[in-house]
Structures are given as structure tokens and as C-alpha cells.
Symmetry: C2
Subunit: 327 residues, 2 copies
């Protein structure tokens, strides 16, 4: 199943089911008003939503409309929690060199994860406002999962059954502030403003064999102003999504609708490029002596789209956003 | 005005207005269903809620019930965000000695703040479950404010006008995990499980002159198993709540209902005692060579109540919780 959220003026938006080919969508709010309410009642609404999805794909639906990503909010405009890991070791190691910080102990065996704000997620085509270019505006291409209720202390094995949906994420980051906040030990706050999402949240079966070992084995194509920055594979996660869920739930329960992120998708193979500018810049610094690529400027465009290995577009649709100033 | 939230089975609970003397409460859901919805429509509902409050205090209300804190959820069972500062410098300095970490740069001039989970706030008398005593279970007595919508980049001066309500908080902490997470730079995640709230959220006028310079000038009486741990004053904050709000909103907007915390209330005057066990333990270590006070055990009771300087109970009611194991 594929889901999108249309803006109807409400806090959580209105749930739509999207056709397999992304051509059409149908209002699902007669079954449950929003994607959040669907997740809160997943066992009850899964079957009727599935029938609606099958009807839409079979062309039986009387009320389908053309699917228009520009009208979409984030699949969840607000979520109970947003916990973002850093599960691609290559990214972590490069960031240590970028920020000149000591290696994180146990980085390869115990996940690191930060708590982000989850009240103001942006849709795939929303302009993203920032107060200042001086803060070092950057994107981070990621994958994520949305879970059902997860009890405190759930094991990774059990956590696998709590994954309802998979999403594609741009975790906006302010690098100058991150370098300031990180050594203070309280984590990222000002360094992590809003987070953006591709329009379509999908059940794991939509990925076919690309949902593998609790990882999203798709290539995340990332471009800035039309120019390729990277196309790294999500398969190279050191920790699976069930591992990350178990880490998040170690001392707390996670309410249905919590989003767990992979951290920036990053591959050891340099040919894959990068899913954020900070990584590209540190590689330039290592290779050329100094960073060549500037951070984002107001007016810059950021596009992200997951694709299958054969080049077919992935199931999430595209992120296509512009960076804007608040003034 | 004084507000409490009763459990009606819904995610956000049902809004009640509480009488000045905390003896009675009246269902306010005909005006707006929940405290969250009230905050989202503050300008519209403030006047009718005020009339209901005045009627209740004048004994005109036909539907008042006995106020029963044990039936209360947290005033906001979920909030858009929970951003917790560390505005009492005495606490910060003692924590550095407790965890043997280097002094945080600019600690006295720029607030530090972490992002906490805001989807699972506990009520004043709810048992609080933990997986293991080995994690170093501790409480942190705090004050907090709940804000109206705050635009990105709001100044501290403007932020003062965004404060709708004041609350009293127990920010549960797991010290063994905090010592592990802090040096990793991603902030507190497992170290900060759920957060608990006194039953009554109040408008600033309810504090009278104890709402002073953007600070809560009340003494926070904290006891473990009936034994006093401390009664430190909230007046000693190095940063005001408007300062903390402006810090949180520097690169993001805050949605109505966001909770901003003071961090552990702590005074230089040793006679004030402590609002958490970690502080008490480090003072013992400095004075006696080793910590004497153990962290919390399953079955322990934690009470917190703000009081005016003359000993009268403050406006928030009491936190009275028991620590329990999940198994």
C-alpha cells in the first residue's frame, strides 16, 4: 500500500491511498481520517485500506483523482517522536573528520541516535525557510520507518514486526551550529530545524526484494540545482531498522506513528557520491586540501529520489524543495 | 486560571478548569475539548475559559466536581515539543563534577538545551515504569512554560508574550546512561525516558509576584520516601523562560503547546538541598569522599510540590509517584 497526506486544513491532514503507478489517489478518510489515526488503529484499518488500494489499482474506485505531490504534506505532518540514528558508518567517520571530533566509542557496535522535533514535518515540495545562510545549511538524504506501538524494552527481533511503513527523508541540518552543539553534550537542537519527507509512505512489501535484512536496498539519488551530489545505497546500514527501533525503545515505549531514521545514507564506494554537502566537502578537503562546494544558499533547489538498482523510480515519489530565507 | 486534564480515553484527554483553592473542577470541553486544542486557539478560548473559571470560583457553576489529582493526566499528555534547558548554573557545575566532564564553554552566557520526547507525558500520580535499577534512576524537579505559537527567530523580548501557562515537572533521568550518551554528542535519548507533570497548569497571574523576571520564584519541595531532598528556589535561573524560548526558536518555529523546561532547580545555598539525587550524591562525594545516597529503587516514592516563600502550597498541585519495574 502507498499512502499520502493531503492538506485539508487540519493538523494531521487527510489520508489518501495512492495507486501503484503514482498516477492516481483516492480519499481514504471515510476509513480513517489521517495517516496518524490509521497507525493508531493499524490492525483495524489495514484490511479496508488494502481493499481500497486494490480497487484503485483495478480501476474500480469511483473517486480517484490525479495524484499531485505538490498538494501533499509530509505523510505525517506531526509524529509522536522522531528519533534519527547514524547507522551508516562511512558517514559517521567522515563527519568526525569534517568536525575534527574524536571517534565516537563503540560507534560500530552500539547505534547513536538523536531526538528530533516531530511537530513540524514538511511536505515534498514545500519551501524550507531558514534564518541565515551563515548557519551552514545542508540536507541529509535518509530512509526511515514508521512504527506501530512499541513497548519499552522490545528486542530487535520483536521490533521487526512493529514496522508499518517506510519513508524517504531529508533531515535538514545546520552545520555551523552542529559543530557548536555537539561538544556540549546536549545533542542537536538549533542544528536540526524542520525535517522533510517524500510524498508517499509505503508498506514494506512495496519494496519487494529491496526491503532486505531490515534495510532499504535502494539508491538515493540526490541533486542540488539539478546537479548530481550522490546516489548511495541504503543497503550499507551497519544497523538494521529493527536494531534502531530497539535502541530507541530501550527505556521508553514508542507511540504508534513514531518515525525512526537511518541517518545520512552513505557508502564506502566513493563513486556513490554523498547524500549531504558536509560529506562532499570533507572529501574535497581530504583530496584537494580544501572544501570546494559551498553549503546551500537561499534559492537553491534540493531533489531526492530513491531508485531501484535498474534505475526505475522507487516507491516514495520525489522530494523537490527550495531553500528560502525567513525575511 | 488553573487547568487540569482528565482521562476520557482520548489521546489528549479532557480539559477541566480547577478552582482557585483546588477543591473543585469543572468540565470545560464544551468550550474546547482539550488543553492542547485550547492552546491552539488561545486567543478565542481564553475569554470563555476565564468566565467559566470565575463562575466556578464564585460557586455559580452547576457542574463542578471534587477535584481529584489522582484522576489527572499530565496537563498535556502529548505536546508538539519538549525542549529542556539547563538554566540553573549551580546544577550544571555540580553535574560536571558528578560525570567528570569538562566545563561546557559559554555555559553562563548561552543556554544549553536538549530535545526530549513529548508523546508520553505522565500524570502526577502515575506509576513510572523503568526496565532496570542499574540505569541509575533519578528525578529532576523543574519548572516549565507552555507557549503559544512562536515564530522562528523570535527575540526573548517578544517570546515573553508567547507564554500561556506555567507547569511543574519531574524530568526522569537515567544517570548511568546519561554518562554514556553525553560524550557521544548526540544528546540524551535513552537517558531521558518519560517526563511527569504536576496536575495543574496555570496562567502566570496565578503566581502573583512569584512570577518575576520570567522566572518562577517558588521553592520546589522534593522528597523521596517521605524524606526531604531539597526545597530550592526557581528564582535563581541564569536565563529567563523568554531567553530559553528564544533559544529554542532560533532556527525553527514552535507550535502552540510546546513545553520549555528550566532544567533542574538548584541553588548555590547548600541549605536549599537538591532537586535530584545526582546532585546530592556529588555533594556527598565532595564532602565525604563518596556518595551515600543510592539512586531510586523500584517501589520508591517521589513527591514534589512548589510552595510560596511563606510555606503556602503553590498553584500546581503535587507530584506523587512511585517507581516501578516493567516486569
Amino acid at each position: 500500500m502507498k499512502f499520502a497526506t493531503y492538506d485539508d486544513g487540519s493538523t494531521d491532514g487527510r489520508l489518501y491511498v495512492v495507486s501503484s503507478d503514482h498516477a492516481r489517489a483516492v480519499d481514504a478518510s471515510a476509513i480513517t481520517p489521517s495517516l496518524l489515526s490509521a497507525l493508531q488503529n493499524w490492525r483495524e484499518v489495514e484490511a479496508p485500506l488494502k481493499r481500497l488500494s486494490e480497487d484503485l489499482d483495478a480501476n474500480h474506485s469511483p473517486v480517484g483523482v490525479l495524484f499531485e505531490p505538490r498538494l501533499c504534506l509530509a505523510p505525517l505532518p506531526r509524529a509522536p517522536q522522531w528519533c534519527d540514528g547514524s547507522a551508516f558508518l562511512n558517514h559517521g567517520r567522515l563527519m568526525e573528520r569534517a568536525f575534527n571530533t574524536p571517534p565516537i566509542p563503540d560507534f560500530e557496535t552500539i547505534p547513536v541516535m538523536y531526538q528530533g522535533a516531530s511537530d513540524d514535518f514538511l511536505g515534498p515540495c514545500a519551501d524550507t525557510p531558514f534564518v541565515s545562510e551563515v548557519d551552514g545549511i545542508d540536507f541529509e538524504g535518509e530512509f526511515g520507518v514508521i512504527v506501530d506501538e512499541v513497548p519499552m524494552g522490545t528486542s530487535a527481533q520483536a521490533a521487526a514486526n512493529c514496522i508499518c511503513l517506510i519513508v524517504q527523508i531529508n533531515d535538514w541540518s545546520l552545520r555551523a551550529i552542529g559543530a557548536y552543539e555537539m561538544p556540549r553534550g546536549f545533542g542537536f537542537l538549533q542544528a536540526k530545524p524542520t525535517t522533510s519527507f517524500a510524498p508517499i509512505a509505503v508498506t514494506p512489501d512495496e519494496l519487494g526484494s529491496a526491503w532486505s535484512d531490515g534495510r532499504v536496498a535502494l539508491n538515493l539519488h540526490v541533486a542540488r540545482n539539478g546537479e548530481r551530489v550522490g546516489s548511495a545505497s541504503g543497503a550499507e546500514m551497519a544497523f538494521s531498522f529493527p536494531d534502531l527501533i530497539a535502541h530507541a525503545a530501550r527505556t521508553r515505549r514508542l507511540r504508534a506513528g513514531t518515525v525512526i531514521g537511518s541517518g545520512t545514507v552513505s557508502n564506502k564506494d566513493r563513486a556513490a557520491g554523498s547524500s549531504c554537502l558536509a560529506e562532499k566537502r570533507v572529501i574535497e578537503k581530504l583530496d584537494l586540501g580544501e572544501a570546494q562546494t559551498p553549503f546551500l544558499k537561499f534559492g537553491d533547489r534540493v531533489e531526492m529520489e530513491a531508485r531501484f538498482a535498474d534505475g526505475r523510480p522507487g516507491p516514495f515519489g520525489r522530494i523537490d524543495q527550495r531553500v528560502v530565507g525567513t525575511r
